[in-house]
Amino acid sequence: MEDKNWEPKVTAFVCNWCTYTGADLAGTSRMKQQSNARLIRVPCTGRIDPLFIIKAFEGGADAVLISGCHPGDCHYNSGNFHARRRWIFFKELLDFVGIDSKRLYFSWVSASEGKKWVDIVNGVIDSAKSEGPFLKYKNLTKEIELNNE
């Protein structure tokens, strides 16, 4: 069922103040990157509910990337600390629910790190390519549909 033209889908949740602006900087500096990532802007990584990540995987994302301000640099003083603490627990749970936690990426990218952002995006897309498509959810959905029929 592997499609030769298959391209991974990467959903990225980024904070408005650091990473989104860093990605803007990559743009204004015309730093070319692969086009598989779709950014969803939130005010702060502290706003990111773990359910967003599950939902993204459910919706067919092959990898999810979360990025915000460096620890200590949060625009909202401490939002990213709460986020970081949340992910430490959540990553374990992700494996438990059957989503390979290797598909979930975290990074800190400041507003001045356009280059770092490009490297991270390319890195995530490359590893998503080598991981292959994320099919567990899709197969499960099919199974449920079959059972219902």
Binding site: K9, T28, R38, V42, D49, K55, G59, R86
Partner: protein, 668 residues
Amino acid sequence: MKIGVFICHCGENIGKTVDCPKVARASALMPGVVYAEDYKYMCSDPGQNLIKQAIKEKELDAVVVGSCSPHMHEKTFRKACSSAGVNPFMVEIANLREHCSWIHNDINSATSKAIDLIRIAVEKVKFNEPLIPIRVPVTKKALVIGGGISGIQAALDIAGAGYQVILVEKEPSIGGHMSQLSETFPTLDCSQCILTPRMVEVYQHPNIKLMTYSEVQNVEGFIGNFKVTIRKKTRHVNEELCTGCGDCIQKCPIKKNASSEFDEGLAKRPAIYVPFPQAVPNIPVIDTSVCTYFKSGKCQMCVKVCGRGAIDFKQEDRLVEEEVGAIIIATGYKLYSIDKKPDDYIYKGYGEYGYGQYKDVVNGLQFERLASASGPTAGEILRPSDKKPPKKIVFIQCVGSRDESKGFSYCSKICCMYTAKHAMLYKHKVHDGEAYVFYMDIRAGGKMYEEFVRRAIEEDGVKYIRGRVSRIYEDCGKLIIKGEDTIAGEAVEIDADMVVLATAMIPQENASQLAQLLGVPYDKHGFFQEVHPKLRPVETSTGGIFLAGACHSPRDIPESVAMASAAAAKALVLFGSDVLEREPVVAKVNETTCAGCFYCQKVCAYSAIERKVLKNRNGNFIKEVAYVNSSLCQGCGTCNATCPSKSVELIGFKDDQIFAEILALAEV
């Protein structure tokens, strides 16, 4: 809901890599979209008119613009839509330029990404709701913390513009470090001569309420509406009654038990004292740690001599509450004490330089006092140990600065200049003396600064040696300085009579505690942090709190004064309007489902979440729920993600909105 989608080509910036007409066609097919169009420059006047016209003709409720980053033109498009009758918060921007066309080459993949980005925005905007900006009133009164030259300048500027200022100074007098200086570079004009008129001006200004010997104890509130508690420490002297005659100081029998803070420990002062003769206000303070009355209950000499009955041993600290709209932090610096540090201390210190061990090794501020006409030697340069003029003096720069192994990584910036000044003053006063300066680099950037250093070298014959000093020790009454001359490539040994160390400037004690009190970030050294190093250098990330002077980073007098005026200008901008408008992106609690666990309160960085008691019609308690103070809430949304029952939502980034964005990317 009727949504209009507008795709901007941005000239060729987007149009070159994204097939804009194709994106517009695809957008038109998205559910909810009733109109889609592309245009060369959407932000231009005709572009904006196009949007306005479509809003009217198609009766749009919401607008999605595919253009540059929202950080660029979100405001522009919100304004345009607002003028055509669409609520500005019903506008979403899809970033097709910075996040798409500029970073990709392949037109096919870029176009399909652009369509995805539009779809995300369209799905989100369906859950947007019309919002009204939050309006908060502004208290047109400023608090300036610190009464050095920066604080004085800021207070005078704001007061001069006609607004009330409270100037808080922790010492008994304003004036700060500048009042301790002898002369100032690069003009060598007397520091007190230019400063004291300003101090008096502050004291007499009808708009300035001066609170000396006071400290800020608590700060609550937010931009335009701070509530400040100031602790007025007791002087044991009634300020209203005291005339500043000084009889008590003259007659105080305790003359030698306390060393003068103003003279950096080089002189003694009585138990009841004013820090220096020109102090403002000229009201004495009793140092209870040495006063005989406070130790044994006897003496009371000051009470006997005071004709006004101003001495009040029973006086206590007083708490004063003030409401202000803006706060300027001008707490200044202190010098890094370079004596040997305890082993577990993070900074190693310079035990090998003998500071604190040899009397004739002094720091820069102590030398200022020795050179000052108002100092303990009346301006004659006499070394502390035997009060003789030193015939050979060595100045060492960068003690603690630019030296991560022993001190700090940063450059203290003013030491090159004041060392040149010190050496010059020395040569002017001790004509047959020799002055040596050990330096790493001479950093004399500033108007007439380089010329000043050249003057010290060429006209006054100060000998500059490029290199570090490894050790200072005493031998036969001389201080032996062992160092190296890296230009000549040889070891140097100088037998000097006195050594002056240009030690690093560090933030005032308790600067980091004050920062925490105010909710303002500070760097790893404890200096206050600005929002943007280039474009917003005097603002902190907390609205309404500004920075002036050396509390931000090492800086000299002209720079501190300039920064203070800049901070004052920022406060005045704030005072220019009666109400502040801010984005209504704040959290809101659903009181019906809130279980009152208050996890949200624990994660809120702004103390914006309060407890609210719900009562029924008869006044009986129903439950306690969280309540968001929307003027304190900054809109990070951490509470939203934390709430176990999803009862608190961040308006503008609600769960519905973000789930809609995520599902916009799902496979159909």
